[in-house]
């Protein structure tokens, strides 16, 4: 099973598009290496802008380019892009409605042992709270490809968060169900609905397999479109289940869990359990070690689901 990092897939899709679309511009803040964008910079130097380690500049320059007809893709670590340049994202991108796609690389706890300065547990809540800012967190490289192809067709602001490392695919090459702003139903069941995004979709899918062996049937939704949240899919999945679990590589506040809870609470009240990173500096370790420690893995999700529907 081939796998590449989602960020690398973003670069590949943009390079393919840039062959014929000279308005595509990629920008990095000394992040072309970490963002897998060196091939883009080398192949299309006239369509690449380096801003140096200056994320505020990165985002404002992107907005200025976009205002003059460019399709700007600003690639920078999610931890900095979603905080250091937050106001530029709010004013120059979202408020001014410029065609800027903010690509937050190495999101969540991708930088593992580098510590809280390099984690971006807050990015979903922060970006989703900005009017006119969309938030996408694709699960695997195949879905990332479809997402970026779809984003190339619109002219609206968006924040896209991807992880650092290649992850096991959720989908199969040639069979990637994808509709823009619609959650992907990974599997359907009647006992519990598991709604996940990003790197948490694969463990959620694996959890459904574990639960099946225990006689528990689960729906798994890949909510890559955290904002606009696919409310219909949430309601449908919740209505068909006894309880709902959300799983995200993010802070417990203001992210996928909060948004799903709002919808379920108002539309089809059920018990909703939010699985997330803690409201505390995350323990030191690799992504996998961190996920395992906080139960953000297939076993942890399955265990939580089994307790819920018991």
């Amino acid at each position: 099973m081939s796998k590449i990092a989602n960020k690398q897939m973003i670069c590949e899709v943009l390079m393919e598009a840039a062959k014929t679309d000279k308005d595509i511009v990629a920008l990095c803040s000394d992040s072309r290496g970490s963002g897998s964008f060196t091939p883009f910079a080398d192949t299309y130097p006239e369509q690449f802008v380096e801003t140096g380690i200056a994320e505020q500049n990165l985002v404002s320059i992107s907005a200025g380019l976009a205002k003059c007809g460019k399709k700007a893709y600003a690639v920078s670590p999610a931890c900095f892009l979603s905080t250091r340049s937050y106001e530029q994202a709010k004013v120059d991108v979202a408020y001014s409605n410029t065609n800027v796609k903010l690509i937050g690389i190495s999101g969540g706890v991708s930088y593992g042992a580098l510590g809280m300065s390099h984690h971006s547990a807050q990015d979903i809540a922060a970006m989703a709270a900005i009017p006119n800012m969309r938030v996408y967190i694709p699960s695997d490289h195949l879905q990332t490809k479809e997402l970026v192809k779809a984003l190339l067709k619109d002219e609206k602001p968006a924040y896209i968060r991807v992880g650092r490392n290649a992850v096991d695919p959720v989908y199969e090459e040639g069979n990637v169900p994808f509709e823009m702003d619609k959650a992907t139903v990974v599997c359907e069941g009647t006992d519990v609905a598991i709604i996940a995004c990003g790197e948490m979709v694969k463990p959620a899918k694996d959890a459904a397999e574990i639960l099946k062996e225990q006689g528990i049937s689960a729906t798994v939704l890949d909510m890559y479109c955290v904002k606009p949240l696919d409310k219909d899919a949430v309601v449908k999945a919740a209505e068909n289940a006894k309880a709902v679990i959300t799983v995200e590589e993010a802070s417990p506040f203001g992210g996928l869990g909060s948004m799903v809870s709002q919808v379920v609470g108002s539309e089809c009240p059920r018990k909703v359990i939010n699985m997330s990173l803690p409201d505390a500096p995350v323990i030191t370790g690799t992504s996998k070690e961190v996920f395992d420690y906080y139960g953000l893995n297939a076993e942890g999700i399955a265990q939580k689901a089994a307790e819920l529907v018991k």
Partner: protein, 277 residues
């Protein structure tokens, strides 16, 4: 050619009317910056309601967005909308005429209001012009208090790195900000040297409220190749009437009836003087 100095006093009157109608406004900065705006919109930039969607139009971003009333007066005079529309709607419920620039209005490219955004955005606009081999020019106006924002210097750094000679910034150097004298709040007395050290061409405009001096400086900026230019426009905050000139308290102030009468009288007198110069 219309006497633009006389016009500047008429537009200052419009600004006073806008502020009194909306019961809000950054009056002091409006009065210091309006000559820069008039010079840009009536002498320098190829921008009008007819070509506002032309990719080759010159671009302007009002970085010191709080001086929006001056921009409204100038854009109304240019015909992007009418002064009556502004007077009726400014700061009112549901209005598009907000207290900071809003690009839902014709003639306004970018929303601003938070300081330190205009220059970096203009770097992007100027870069796009270079990439597309277009010859439009990009202008922005910043306040001197605004220069304390770090993002200004990120933009300044990139503008010279990319040799953006199609970019011209103006510093409305009126030496006052909301808390008082700029040099007391955070000093900028070596401003020219700062910009030079960032690789910029610096032009000092001795009287930043002189349209002739500003126009000559903008003309000079166009001849400078390989680097961006900044005009340090030495202006008077509240320029137009002694009632408001050089008074920090007039950063944001709505004139009383008495003040209104005196200011209008002073503006009319200066207009008359300009006409008979």
């Amino acid at each position: 050619m219309e006497n633009l100095t006389a016009l500047s006093y008429d537009l200052r009157k419009d600004v006073i009317e806008i502020i009194c109608a909306g019961k809000a406004g950054h009056i002091g900065g409006d009065m210091s910056v309006i000559d820069t705006l008039i010079t840009l919109y009536f002498k320098q930039m190829n921008i009008s309601p007819e070509n506002m969607d032309d990719p080759n139009r010159d671009r302007f971003v009002m970085s010191k967005g709080h001086s929006v009333e001056a921009l409204y007066a100038v854009l109304a005079k240019k015909g992007f909308f009418t002064l009556e529309e502004v007077l009726e709607n400014f700061s009112k419920f549901g209005s598009k005429f907000i207290g900071h620039p809003n690009n839902k209005l014709p003639g306004i490219e970018m929303n601003s209001g938070s300081l330190g955004h205009g220059l970096p955005v203009c770097v992007g606009m100027a870069l796009a012009g270079k990439m597309n081999h277009q010859d439009y020019r990009v202008y922005t106006v910043m306040g001197d208090g605004e220069l304390a924002e770090g993002s200004v210097w990120e933009g300044a750094m990139a503008a010279s790195h990319y040799k953006l000679d199609n970019l011209c910034a103006v510093v409305d150097r009126n030496r006052l900000q909301i808390s008082g004298n700029t040099e007391d709040v955070m000093h900028h007395d070596d401003l020219h040297e700062r910009f030079r050290s960032f690789g910029w061409n610096v032009i000092d405009v001795k009287d930043g409220n002189s349209i002739d001096e500003l126009n000559a400086a903008f003309d000079e900026a166009k001849t400078v190749k390989g680097k961006p230019t900044v005009l340090i426009a030495n202006t008077v905050k509240g320029c137009g009437s002694p009632v408001m000139e050089n008074k920090a308290a007039w950063h944001h102030h709505v004139p009383s009836e008495e003040e209104y009468t005196q200011i209008m009288k002073d503006l009319e007198a200066r207009k008359e003087a300009a006409l008979h110069e």
